[in-house]
Subunit: 314 residues, 2 copies
């Protein structure tokens, strides 16, 4: 268990831009090692220091390659970039995709880029409180942009909208089921829609379909009209325009007052996740074999036993 | 709010095999409508009445078509089948995939089959307590098999192992990233591995790769050696053998004593999910705008405020 002094010193090193210290802090908070709550608490005050951008989209949309292109573009524009790739890796292996590790090497010699894969961990599923702590570490370390890339379809994609300032949804022509999944889950949350594989002739149809779908929902938070950006991660075409759309959204957030309301939503979500995580641990710690015996014998139900366990707490 | 008598009557109708009553009960418990806890409590006693089978696998593996084939096979063998498709649809639309609705029609005239899409809902992500309640409703309704199909990669896939008796992982040759995702998240939880698209020549290589990967983890729960079943959802080839493997696993669970330990694990998970859901609601009800003001002004952190809110409970 690190002492309060250790926590302060590590936080100070991260705030001086020390990448090794940031890597260590990230491991502690995301793997929930001893002291993670104190450390997360220490970095919380950096909330809001960076422009946070979430990138969602199904596997096959070419999102990972697009992130690489976007990082290159942001660096050329003088930004520093932290990237958190949230992957569906299980609690069993705890590891990241081999593919992630490989692609991260593209920027491994650039000190202005920091990339890390995070497993979405454990019992509760979806994005958990540690994603916020991880973002705050990168904010403290001084990155002007923090990208949060979700891998896979599912709850993570929708969750990310409550975690970041700007949401970019990535799709690609002819994705079949994948395109449907995007529509069902993410049409409502996208601020910018990147249509990848713009090198393919089918991209025009995909852009038209997306425009149609978006027209059903023209009023977005604070009067922002979601933008559609055809891009090619393969050739790099359109990536500069995508970066400009992302920055335009950030400027709109500031000028419309929507930034404050999004950040309050982030705070509410972070608090609720921190709370629920603690509560779940509390609840699990109170469940004994005797409770399971009662359930197995059908002498109680989870609902009535839950009530009993909660009443015992008061 | 339904009365205790309403709950009893609805439960009695479901137990007589009334499909319309089952549909209504499912809506109440999965959408957490008024009375859902009383109803879920009433159906809990049916836990364990059916053989529950989880099917996981990434989009593109052809899992949905395979489930349709499997249902047809199970019906031919005299079983009745309930299917719960857990889909990544957002809290925003609350709806199911169009594709799901279409494929469900294949069995819509067969009273021995009941299919329902469930959205994984709201804040907590992943599978939540309502999946257990939904299973118990179908168990009460007398289905001999209850299939739980997860859609998408991610936490749901790993979660399903703590919800069902038998886990079937579906993959397909040449899935690229998808195949990696399966290895990272689900190699440890599969009791049976269905390799779909066995009509393609590449299937042999996929089976060989899977055998290699499984050989790293030869000792499975209770001495079961995971089986590999090449299948073709397109032609139906191998589906009978897959059904036989699933039943062989169920027989193994019973003879080895592993069934009891899996069911206790299910009970523990169900209880913890019910508990944490209630605790979360309680805690969130106590979060006010003043708390968010404190966080926005950086006068507190989620970690210390969480502690204060929980202490206030005692």
């Amino acid at each position: 268990m690190p002492s309060a002094k250790d926590v302060r010193e590590l936080a100070a090193r991260v705030r001086r831009g020390d990448r090794a210290a940031a890597a260590r802090a990230l491991s502690i908070v995301t793997e929930e090692r001893p002291g993670h709550e104190a450390l997360a608490g220490a970095f919380f005050s950096d909330h809001g220091a960076s422009h946070t951008v979430g990138l969602c989209g199904s596997p096959g949309s070419g999102k990972s390659s697009l992130v690489n292109r976007l990082v290159t573009r942001l660096r050329a524009a003088g930004e520093t970039v932290g990237v958190l790739a949230v992957d569906p890796t299980s609690a069993f292996t705890g590891g990241a995709f081999l593919g992630d590790r490989m692609r991260f090497q593209a920027h491994s010699l650039d000190d202005g880029v920091f990339m890390r894969s995070l497993a979405t961990r454990g019992m509760m599923g979806g994005l958990n409180a540690t994603i916020f702590a991880a973002i705050h570490v990168l904010e403290a370390c001084g990155f002007s942009k923090v990208l949060v890339e979700t891998v896979g379809t599912g709850q993570d994609e929708v969750d990310v909208a409550e975690v970041v300032d700007t949401v970019v949804c990535v799709s690609a022509p002819y994705q079949g089921d994948e395109f449907q999944a995007m529509k069902a889950g993410t049409m409502e949350i996208g601020d910018v829609f990147a249509v990848n594989k713009a090198d393919l002739p089918e991209v025009e149809r995909a852009v038209a379909m997306l425009k149609d779908a978006l027209s059903l929902n023209p009023l977005h938070d604070g009067g922002w009209a979601p933008r559609i950006a055809p891009v090619s991660a393969l050739t790099g075409k359109g990536v500069a325009e995508l970066a400009a759309d992302i920055d335009a959204h950030r400027a709109h957030l500031a000028s419309s007052g929507e930034l404050e309301s999004r950040r309050r939503r982030q705070l509410r979500r972070e608090l609720s996740l921190v709370l629920s995580r603690r509560l779940y641990r509390d609840a699990m710690a109170r469940v004994t074999d005797r409770h399971i015996d009662l359930l197995a014998a059908k002498k109680s139900s989870p609902q009535s036993l839950g009530g009993t366990l909660l009443a015992g707490r008061k």
